[in-house]
Amino acid sequence: MELIRISTAGSVDDGKSTLIGRLLFDSHALLEDQIENILKASKKKNFEGIDYSLFTDGLRDERTQGITIDVAHLYFSSPYHKYIIADTPGHVQYTRNMITGMSNADIALILIDIKKGLNEQVKRHIFIAHLLKIPKLIFCVNKMDLASYQEESFLKIVKEFNLMNNLLDLREFTFIPISATNGANVVSISSKMPWYKGKSIIQEIDEFEIVETNKNISKRMPIQCVINSPIGEATYRGYAGMLTSGSFKVGEEIIVLPTAIKATIKSIIQNGINIQEAETGSSIAIELDREIDISRGDMIAGITLLPINSNEITTTICWMHEQPLSILKKYILKIGTKETQCIVSNIISKYNNDFDQIILAPKEAGMNEIATISIKTANPIHFDKYVSNKNTGRFILIDPVSNDTVAAGIIE
């Protein structure tokens, strides 16, 4: 059984937490004491029955203000998969926490309130899901009960999205009409919407399978650390890291970057055991047939399909800090296990708040804005385009004074 990571998205009060609570409740993933506590809390709020959103709002401020501030992680299994759900906040102020939750997702459940339609924040989330290339998007049109479960209202939302999609050109997505509070089309198909011929949310996610887009293309392993260990008279010297794409075999020729020295793999150790071949996603240590100076931040790659090597990149970023992006400031760029100083040499463009217009040469990019920029790094870096290799095509920017993570970027 495989782990599938799901993230919610959507504006405040669209029903994200309620949906997750309902999903867990209906698939019997909740414990008695959790339900008792929530029943008590629901009563305190004068809520009739169970307020499902209370299952995920875990911080005091969240409960007292009735909003989600940060991502909550929840776990459940079905007979088909094991799931990790990131329930993310919808409030624009906490977009960075939503990106935190969505960045690793295989599936995004994007909620749209039938009464509100695609507001600015939903559009922002859709745009971010598109940018991150989340493999599967499920649009859950929620609160169908408030629209008497009518098909017309549902189709209106679909139409609104299609308009937006002219620019995005998303292909892989599904629309499901639901009522989170009533559990309609969440786990079981509701009889209230006979016009809907599709699947329930749980059916959709159960049928999902991870397609290894990174398999057998480029081979990449950023080095995390070096392991030295005496074996008799000799010393074992292994380069430890996670194989983020492709596979490596013992005896295979590889290249070490940035030095560009070639060598042959002498051994691969995973969990202390010698293996012949390592697959994508494994944490391993690689020993080479010759002594090379390698340290954290370097990369071992296959000898074909080399990454791009440059000190200039063009990238689309989401800015995540109150202090706007400055072209006068130095930042730290972190890609894989490498960190290097950089400056933003140019803000090429940014999107307007409705994500239907591109503003050229804007003066600045502020919190939650999505901009295309040029970056110059102090040292050349090795990278891929995000479309061809996700792991080595993405980075974060760190403010060296506050140490805050200020942006997430994907390389074009």
Binding site: M1, N97, S103, A240, G281
Partner: protein, 296 residues
């Protein structure tokens, strides 16, 4: 890849990141299953080399004797470096004050000793066995969780944590808590313990013990608790789901004496893991409040 292999690979990645990014990382070791698991994974992460990170135990002085015995055997067997922070010492130095009340709990003041020990040894990263499925405030925690110069967690202002790019940069006096097994559930932990044949303290398996019934759970009788007249000491067959300070760790009635039996029992369970710890029952916010003060 099977999900246990996925979880294992992720945890090892996190541990290596902590090792690569910090000057002096340590592993928080309580003798409980989660910290044993983290130590086990950390040993794996550096094979065939030796684990160079020390393990750190915050000793409340109110231990199960079995835990201390297990700790010492474990340290010996794997030849690890042990750092001990003593709550008794903090009390003797007037840095901490024991709470009154019948449970005489030292749970909360552990945070003082923990932060003191971190400062004394110039530790900039403490790897803990916290899991997000344990509790609601923990469900909000990052893998790399920043602590300010006072050791405080600021849940409202956590750094974004995007992809697998962990930002462990900090200013003078601050430190990080890193949680490599964040994404493991209690059942995952047990399945992995079985698969890897990891040794645990005997307390996790059912045994007969003298207990009293307090706060809805079976609290072990020890020299550290005050037993009031209306509390009756009886013998029960119990086991513990979590291990902590002996004065507040409640056992559950169980006959599960092997890992297989525990896994079967868990699959049928209806109550959460921390439900038998009186420290977590004080209020809906108790974990968050303690975490803000620097708790594990």
């Amino acid at each position: 890849m099977n999900y246990l292999d996925q979880l294992e690979a992720e945890s090892i990645y996190i541990i290596r990141e902590a090792y690569g990014q910090f000057n002096k990382p340590v592993i928080l070791f309580s003798g409980g299953k989660d910290s044993i698991l983290v130590t086990h994974l950390a040993m794996k992460a550096f094979l065939p080399g030796k684990l160079s990170l020390p393990v750190m135990h915050i000793d409340t002085g109110h231990n199960f004797p079995e835990t201390i015995e297990f700790r010492d055997d474990f340290i010996n067997k794997y030849q690890l470096n042990l750092i001990v922070g003593s709550v008794q010492e903090s009390i003797d130095q007037n840095k901490a004050k024991e709470s009154a009340g019948k449970s005489n709990s030292r749970n909360r003041i552990q945070s003082i000793t923990l932060l003191d020990t971190i400062e004394k040894h110039k530790i900039d990263c403490a790897l803990g066995g916290g899991r997000r499925d344990e509790e609601k405030a923990r469900a909000k925690e990052r893998f790399f969780s920043h602590r300010d110069a006072f050791g405080q967690w600021n849940p409202r202002g956590q750094r974004p944590e995007i992809w697998n790019l962990y930002n462990g940069r900090y200013n003078e006096g601050e430190h990080f808590r890193v949680f490599p097994i964040s994404n493991w559930t209690e059942l995952d932990v047990w399945r992995y313990i079985k698969r890897e044949n990891i040794q645990l303290p005997s307390l996790y398996f059912s045994h007969e013990r003298e207990v009293i019934f307090r706060d809805n759970s079976w609290i072990p009788v020890s020299e550290f608790i005050r037993i009031s007249e209306d509390e009756k000491i009886i013998k029960k067959t119990i086991r513990f789901r979590t291990l902590g300070d002996i004065t507040i760790t409640g056992g559950i009635e169980s006959t599960a004496s092997t890992i297989d039996e525990i896994i079967t029992e868990l699959a049928e369970f209806k109550r959460g893991e921390r439900g038998n710890r009186s420290d977590d029952k004080t209020s809906d916010n108790s974990m968050e409040d303690r975490k803000k003060e620097g708790y594990f």
